[in-house]
């Protein structure tokens, strides 16, 4: 007995190892960092948005937003302008160039995710999503 104990620890280690693998592989496949992709995707969805809204939506630090946007601006993907109605906020939007690129990023991301979920049927995906949601819930209680 105690043949193959699934071990609570195993799940924790699997989650750690999984994270270690996912981000770099995503970047290698999609050609963009997961976080930057999320930024672009949100900009695509809403067309124009303040940095603070971006930050809250994506749940990342304000400093990180500032620096990612600087990078994306330097590469011509996004543009920023002051909000004339409130000079504290800067409004961010995709440039045409950015809009061009995000579509190919989305394709690569779709391809990546379908590779990631290879072998998972519809029901398994549902179960997995539900379990991950419960884990997230538990973590938020700590």
């Amino acid at each position: 007995m105690t043949e193959h104990l699934p071990d609570e620890d195993t799940i924790f280690e699997l989650l750690q190892a999984l994270h270690k693998g996912i981000s770099p592989k995503f970047e290698r496949c999609a050609g963009i960092t997961p976080t930057r992709f999320r930024l672009l995707q949100e900009l695509f969805r809403v067309s124009e948005i303040s940095q603070i809204s971006l930050q809250k939506t994506l749940d990342i630090d304000a400093a990180a937003v500032t620096r990612h946007l600087r990078g994306l601006e330097d590469s011509g993907m996004i543009a920023r302008r002051n909000n004339p109605a409130d000079n504290r906020v800067t409004l961010v939007s995709l440039t045409d160039h950015g809009r061009d690129h995000i579509n190919s990023y989305r394709e690569e991301k779709t391809r990546f995710i379908s590779e990631l979920l290879t072998g998972f049927n519809e029901q398994e995906r549902t179960v997995l999503a539900e379990m991950l949601t419960r884990l997230q819930y538990n973590i938020n209680l700590l």
Copy 2:
């Protein structure tokens, strides 16, 4: 129809969000970084080991090992000595002080993980571990 599509993307985002939550919460609960805990745990297991073996076992960068060990050495948890049989390698081991501490870390970690898995019965844990393993496998193919 398309009532609540579990969405491939959802799983990806859940994994990302999960990671964002786990490490800081672990550290807050256990009082030590996940990586440093893994280092100590491995040292506890084998008593004395070279840095390169540590690195391979834990699958982290050599530079990270060097720096973590410096930190752990400064806090008196570990000791290092040269391998007299091969002056390239440095052997790392727990100090008594480190051995004292790791037990309380282990308790905190156990508590943390059991909170994390609250509401998961034995069978669900098995299913979850198996699914995470499959994800890991898929990632390694990319």
